[in-house]
């Protein structure tokens, strides 16, 4: 396994479509809930322990197992009430799958593309891509968890003109939370073979889902979600 693969996969410049999504930050900014670095940190911490934990669990499980990706994908559908967020997650999954297949060609990624021509959910693709890159479940969980906060942080730099150094410092302050979320996700993923998908975290963030639905209906917006 190459550690460098982790850097490539986690790099914000990895061409998998993430730049067009704010992870709910655009809706939160418009609603006045994110106005600067402190509220960005609160927003990110909340998203990390809900959406982030769920995504990290799915990614870790997908990175562990060759089978059962369709069931994981169904679990996301069942868990995500917002159609707008489900659609965004599939879109991002499809884009990541393209980038992943070009970067780390693998029969498992090809099979996933065949099974989901219009895209599987992003965390499932992320875990499978990590596996194709020779990475393990912890790496996949970290990537998934980190993305749930790095996306909003970059988006808020564009939306509010927030000082990019402050936004990056917010991410650094979330380090311990990221460790905690990734560890919990990996523990849960290891229990899946015995206990089934119920072992995976199922925290939810209703306000993110409501915000996501409202955002999708705006006629004018900077980000796709």
């Amino acid at each position: 396994m190459s550690r460098a693969a982790l850097l490539i996969l986690a790099d914000g410049r990895f061409p998998a479509g993430g730049h067009a999504h704010s992870g709910g930050a655009e809706a939160a900014v418009k609603a006045g809930r994110v106005t600067g670095a402190p509220s960005l940190e609160d927003f990110c911490r909340g998203r990390l322990h809900t959406t982030g934990l769920v995504s990290a669990g799915l990614a870790a499980a997908a990175a562990l197992g060759a089978d059962g990706r369709a069931a994981l994908d169904e679990a996301v559908d069942a868990h995500t009430r917002s159609l707008a967020l489900r659609t965004a997650a599939r879109k991002l999954g499809r884009q990541l799958l393209r980038a992943g297949r070009a970067t780390w060609p693998s029969p498992e990624l090809d099979a996933l593309a065949r099974a989901f021509p219009k895209g599987a959910h992003q965390p499932v693709v992320l875990g499978t891509t990590a596996r194709a890159a020779g990475l393990g479940p912890a790496d996949a969980a970290y990537c998934a968890a980190y993305e749930t906060v790095s996306g909003p942080a970059t988006a808020v730099v564009r939306l509010l003109g927030l000082d990019p150094f402050e936004a990056t410092a917010v991410l650094a302050r979330l380090g311990a939370d990221l460790d905690e979320v990734a560890a919990a996700a990996v523990r849960a993923a290891h229990r899946v073979p015995e206990e089934g998908l119920h072992a995976l975290p199922a925290a939810s963030a209703p306000l993110l889902e409501i915000g996501g639905e409202a955002h999708a209906a705006w006629p004018v917006r900077l980000f796709a979600s």
């Binding site: 993430g18 067009a20 499809r94 393209r98 021509p117 900077l222």
Partner: protein
């Protein structure tokens, strides 16, 4: 152009520039149109659709910065049936979506081929951007850079990747030159100095000649593309 390299991914979506669809058919020629805000990209796309739609099977992808204005303009003008026009959202960064991370645009062109194909030509319009915004060769086979005379007659002299390297440079709105004091001869000389033998078209969509020279350029590109397939 190295578009015909072997592709190992024989199933599901092809990877970027592969010249063939997953089913083995040759894909549509993809031409990108970029350039500064308001220079006339959408107007040129609309005019090209009208000029070419009876001879080629066409579709359009737009990349707006924060609205769906371009797609909606094309729909309103009914230059093509609505299912042939797709808008991509770019997250405030059109040049990222056409150059650094082309995945959403590739998805849009593939979906168009799946849903309304077979297509001969797909026009991809970038949202108005700066002079450095160019398309990735993974997304388009040829690119057109559209500037206008009202944006300042020193733009060709300033150069930049769009002006210097685009396969075709359009200097649009020549009808306005006398009102804004732009020196067309100087623009032509500067463009020549920057671009050497690469073509430049001076165009006014308010004139009789309209989009005809650009439509001819597109026809020639398409003929070369189709010939390479044979």
């Amino acid at each position: 152009m190295h578009l015909d390299h072997d592709h190992t991914h024989s199933d599901a979506a092809a990877v970027s520039a592969d010249a063939h669809r997953p089913d083995g058919r040759r894909r549509a020629l993809r031409i990108g149109l970029g350039g500064p805000v308001g220079s006339g990209k959408t107007a040129t796309v609309a005019a090209l659709c009208r000029a070419l739609r009876d001879e080629l099977s066409l579709a359009v992808v737009t990349n707006d910065i924060y609205t769906r204005e371009d797609a909606e303009f094309l729909l309103r003008e009914a230059v093509l049936p609505p299912e042939r026009i797709t808008a991509v959202e770019t997250g405030a960064c059109p040049h990222t979506a056409i150059r650094d991370d082309i995945s959403a645009n590739l998805e849009a062109v593939e979906d168009l081929e799946d849903e309304v194909g077979p297509l001969d030509l797909i026009l991809v319009e970038s949202g108005g951007d700066n002079l450095t915004a160019t398309f990735s060769r993974g997304l388009v086979d040829a690119q057109v850079f559209v500037i206008d005379v009202a944006g300042g007659d020193d733009i060709p002299r300033k150069g930049g990747p769009g002006v210097t390297t685009a396969d075709l440079l359009i200097v649009n709105k020549t009808d306005l030159a006398r009102y804004v004091g732009s020196d067309l001869a100087r623009m032509a000389a500067d463009a020549k100095a920057q671009r050497g033998e690469l073509p430049v078209v001076f165009q006014s969509l308010r004139s009789e000649e309209h989009v005809a020279p650009v439509a001819d350029w597109v026809r020639a590109r398409y003929a070369a593309w189709a010939a390479a397939a044979a």
